[in-house]
Symmetry: C2
Subunit: 321 residues, 2 copies
């Protein structure tokens, strides 16, 4: 199988889309934009050994490669529409590719995303997806839109993926069922796309948690020139994880506040929207929790339920930190 | 310097653009499309050791990373507008990055391209650019638009980059000045963007030569369900290269027909457009040459000026061939 056979066999799939004038198979794909909509563009590169283990199952990898990009669309309330996939692989292994592509197209179909292009080259396990989404003109959730007095909300239970990763690295031991729950969050993060869309008329600023809650909310604070107070004891976690005898409170908080890879959302909204936000979250079956408030300072204050300040060893992930 | 310092210091540059609603620094960039224009999307991934030598000068690498993508826009007659750059680097070396980014932004500015996003991660020398361009709705040059009786044209002198590469691989020796000319084509291909735009009302099908003329024109033939006859002696080459005593005719033809990496264009157009095409090419200072004709067969026939059929060892580059 050569490069062109691979593209023909695995990547050309029937994809109905009125705006897709020309898909895979030319020098570039052609999209006809809809009037009244802005387009969103984001790219994420996943590298073997850095972002995933060499023995990752192809279906899990395919899920993650696309999900992290879907999450960027979710964070702006955008509807993901199209994606380009560039891959560097040491060889074209049929079974591996079939499993990878099936999972990729399954997730893409579930979110209404069409694969419109990319590149296939020889190299050592690198995957880059560029994703394109839509929002009604001027309506996107932006990092620079947080307002003083906003509630701070978080989706799901951030930190579980980081706990699973620490098991892999031999830093902690978890019981098998608790590890399985955490590992599933690490391998199969569920992008909060539907919630993001629901939040468009309700929320001010939003951001997905890819590098750690404390670090990622920092981007909102910087962009909006505001501060925040967060009661870390309000951030939901898995009670079974909390109850593991091997897990200290300090370790748990480190995962919750500085663990990336869950791809939950953190967002801000006026207190008048509380009921509407809870209703929207229920509609799309996503847990949302108020964890703090936007302040006039330019600082992030983390404290526990007794009011004690929480110090972190590390605020989040930095590739070159 | 960490990942965020890098992005702030090297990638945030003032970029005026009325359609760019939000640039680098959020979960995704936002573009407001223009009414009456289609958008083109293409991605190319360059991998160290596969696409470039480990000791490549950062400015040369930056040029190539963007130029190969600009070339995809040129091949459809599209105006390149925006780009996303994902990089995997083993470390953030300030001098290297400064040289890389300066060259990248210089080329981008020359073609009116704004950098709107991407990703920075740890890994082993991988660069992926996704490029976005515009054409007036329905006017793009497509691979499936070649018509029987069309002239086949080529820009520049394809094959020089392949000759330079064979010098690096020790397969041939060239005189220093001839090697320098070939090496410059390999390191600094000049995307034929202006010509592509001029060809929009004149040409039918077009394609850039990235993997070799014979293979790349094959994509036009397949997509258009036509054949072609090409007189290989009509394809222009550097006379000084032809005159090298170390270069056989067979070797020269292999470079011309199967050497990629020059990023010249091959295109087809009705014979009635000959004068207009020559005038357009002169206007943008690009050499164009008629080398053959589109036929009713589904075959590519290559022959010399005596009418002898030319056989190739390999039609072009295939990463997994």
């Amino acid at each position: 199988m050569n490069e062109f056979d691979f593209i023909r066999k695995y990547l050309h799939r029937q994809q109905q889309d009125k705006q897709l004038i020309l898909g895979i198979g030319d020098d570039a794909a052609i999209i006809r934009p809809r009037s009244g909509y802005d387009l969103h563009f984001s790219a994420d590169m996943l590298v073997g050994g850095t972002h995933f283990f060499p023995d990752v199952a192809p279906a899990d990898l395919a899920h993650k490669v696309l999900a992290v990009n879907l999450s960027d669309m979710a964070a702006m309330g955008a509807t993901p529409r199209w994606a380009l996939l560039s891959v560097a692989l040491p060889e074209l292994n049929k079974d591996w590719l079939a499993a990878f592509c099936d999972a990729l197209f399954a997730l893409a179909a579930r979110f209404g995303v069409k694969l419109i292009g990319g590149d296939t080259t020889k190299g050592n396990w690198v995957f880059n997806v560029t994703i394109i989404g839509e929002t009604p003109c001027g309506k996107a959730l932006r990092r620079d839109a947080a307002k003083v007095g906003d509630d701070i909300w978080v989706t799901g239970q951030p930190g579980l993926a980081a706990a699973a990763l620490d098991v892999h690295w031999g830093k902690v031991v978890l019981s098998e069922p608790v590890f399985a729950l955490c590992e599933n969050k690490r391998l199969r993060p569920e992008p909060r796309v539907a919630l993001g869309q629901e939040l468009l008329p309700l929320a001010h600023a939003a951001q997905d948690i890819s590098d750690g809650l404390a670090q990622d909310i920092g981007h909102i604070l910087n962009a909006s020139a505001v501060g925040a107070e967060i009661n870390v004891d309000l951030i939901p976690t898995l009670s079974a994880l909390k109850q593991q005898s091997t897990v200290t409170l300090s370790q748990l908080r480190q995962w919750i506040l500085a663990g990336g890879d869950d791809y939950e959302l953190v967002f801000t909204a006026a207190p008048t929207q509380r009921k509407a936000i809870l209703a929207a979250a229920q509609k799309v079956s996503v847990e949302v929790t108020r964890i703090g408030v936007i302040t006039t300072t330019d600082q992030l204050h983390l404290y526990d339920h007794k009011g004690n300040v929480i110090q972190l060893r590390q605020r989040g992930f930095d590739h070159f930190g």
